[in-house]
Symmetry: C2
């Protein structure tokens, strides 16, 4: 029921992802009449779907506390998360209210042992392939310990997603020496060098390294991570506008654009934000994927694909093992000082 378009995007999105992963089974939570109406156009989904009717849907502007009060036990969002908790679903995908989804996920699934705060990870296209950036907005400010947890969670996600044994992890930093306030980032770096993490610790990376694919996982706190993500999206949009203007400015350019139509199409696909739609909530006892609220069926299908990959990669079980090993190897003196 979530997002700007509800079942009108979720159901066609589910159909697209089913073509790519024919073994998927869906449980659709929400208004049964609306769901059945949409399913009419997607008969191929009918025998891959179970519908669980709910009367309550969390609105996009509800505050997390409000959503918990009004929607716990009974809303479509809650029921979907509960299906993961009870082992009836391998992952939950929602285009709904982010704050509510996080609050309910924490309440229902609980965080993994030793994890203080879940994070949201985004998949970021790079010139080489893709990398993972976290946290992109679950928490503002992070101490060294939380940055370490993010490193480990991001690495576990990279293993599940990229089938890499030892992904590389970088801490996002700014290239200015002797600036105050970076204590926690430096402390995290020191602890990583001193411990035996289940990934390759690369060192610091800067904002312009992310898209170059310098590392598989970029770790930062939620404020700067969210701003970096939105800024990259905004810059891509801005350049697309420049390009469009440039290609229509003269008759010659227009002819050139027609001839290069295939190339522009490929470029458009490469720059399409729908391809990497889907934030992964990490650090919970279960897989929760947040789709952009405003996306369409193609974008929603990407979010389902991520949930599918995370489930197949056995993210949560791997992460639990890593946490135990990693925390045992950490020098807590560095973090505490």
């Amino acid at each position: 029921m979530g997002g700007d378009h509800g079942p009108r995007v979720v159901i066609p999105g589910a159909a697209i992802s089913l073509v790519r992963h024919p073994e998927i089974h869906y449980i659709l939570f929400g208004d049964e009449a609306l769901i059945r109406e949409e399913l009419k156009s997607h008969p191929e989904l009918a025998d891959r779907c179970e519908i669980v009717h709910t009367d309550v849907a969390i609105s996009m502007d509800a505050k997390p506390s409000q959503a918990l009060r009004q929607g716990r036990w009974k809303s479509s969002m809650w029921k979907a998360i509960e299906a993961v908790r009870d082992g009836n679903a391998s992952a939950v995908i929602s285009a709904g209210n982010t704050g509510a989804l996080m609050a309910m996920s924490r309440f229902c699934l609980k965080t993994l042992p030793e994890i203080e705060r879940p994070a949201i990870a985004a998949i970021w296209p790079t010139v080489q392939s893709e990398c993972i950036v976290l946290d992109v907005g679950a928490n503002v400010g992070a101490d060294a310990r939380q940055l370490l947890d993010c490193s480990m969670m991001g690495a576990a996600m990279a293993r599940a997603l990229f089938s890499q044994d030892r992904p590389s992890v970088g801490l996002l930093n700014i290239g200015v020496e002797e600036v105050k306030g970076l204590g926690e980032v430096r402390k995290a770096a020191e602890a990583l060098r001193d411990s035996d993490p289940p990934f390759e610790y690369h060192g610091f990376v800067e904002g312009d390294d992310v898209g170059q694919g310098v590392v598989d996982v970029v770790v930062t706190e939620g404020f700067s991570g969210n701003i970096a993500l939105k800024t990259a999206e905004g810059t891509a949009k801005q350049i697309a506008e420049y390009l469009k203007a440039a290609m229509t400015r003269s008759p010659m350019a227009r002819i050139g654009a027609v001839l290069a139509r295939g190339a522009f199409q490929a470029l458009k696909e490469k720059m399409d934000p729908r391809q990497s739609n889907g934030g992964v909530f990490l650090g919970l006892n279960g897989i929760v994927i947040k789709s952009h609220g405003g996306t369409d069926a193609i974008g929603f299908a990407s979010a389902i694909d991520i949930g599918y990959d995370m489930a197949r990669g056995d993210l949560v079980a791997r992460l639990a093992v890593d946490i135990e090993k990693f925390h045992a190897s950490l020098n807590m003196e560095i973090i505490a000082k």
Copy 2:
């Protein structure tokens, strides 16, 4: 003497900017022999230049404290800043060590009354024209009061640069409700709504609003500002690589690219980071411009242009007046709570 290339970039850069602003006079601080050698290729500069020989140059990797110790009173960087302090120059432009330049500028020029910490402002190209983003790395973390100071300093710069009477100012924020840790940003917003600032306070903006030109001035603390700036640069570079790959992938695309050559040239210029090279140190009793260390003559000329515009716009005097008026109108209770 600063930057990766010293006089080999500074002097040709000065020549380019002189064509655009024939009334400029330069004072060149550094190794006289090297400068004279470079000037041979730029005879048009000869009678617009004064050379002040110095034996000491601050290295690019010196720490600020080290630079101050070794370079105070005698280095080219110090002497150039001193020329601004003594009224012999209207602005100083350096491609040298950022930390050293900031430390020496603070020491020599002092901050304006009521300004706790200077900030670095960047000019950011937008789909409409340009905007100003600050702080992009002078300070990490900022309390409400420092965000307010940045708002005012950015607005004064916008007036000097864009000839706008009441520029619009936005506070960079993330669009997540009830997230902890944004207290200072919210407090600054409340104080702005409650006071009578010498600019239009727009409200919050997100990372993707910057390049859309939603406001003239975007205010944030230095860590997220630096990361946003670098991320935008990195994304532009990444897309340029995609575009290049797309336009060479088929014979048809190659022909199209040849026909649209003029359009691509215009696009390239629009995306050229050299066009907006030059960070402005704000909050000091004088104009200090930091050029990228790795830029070329075209980039260095942009930094000179910014210094020229700031001096012509009488930035420092305007700012001093604004500070007094604005601080008088501020409700300090909001900031202190």
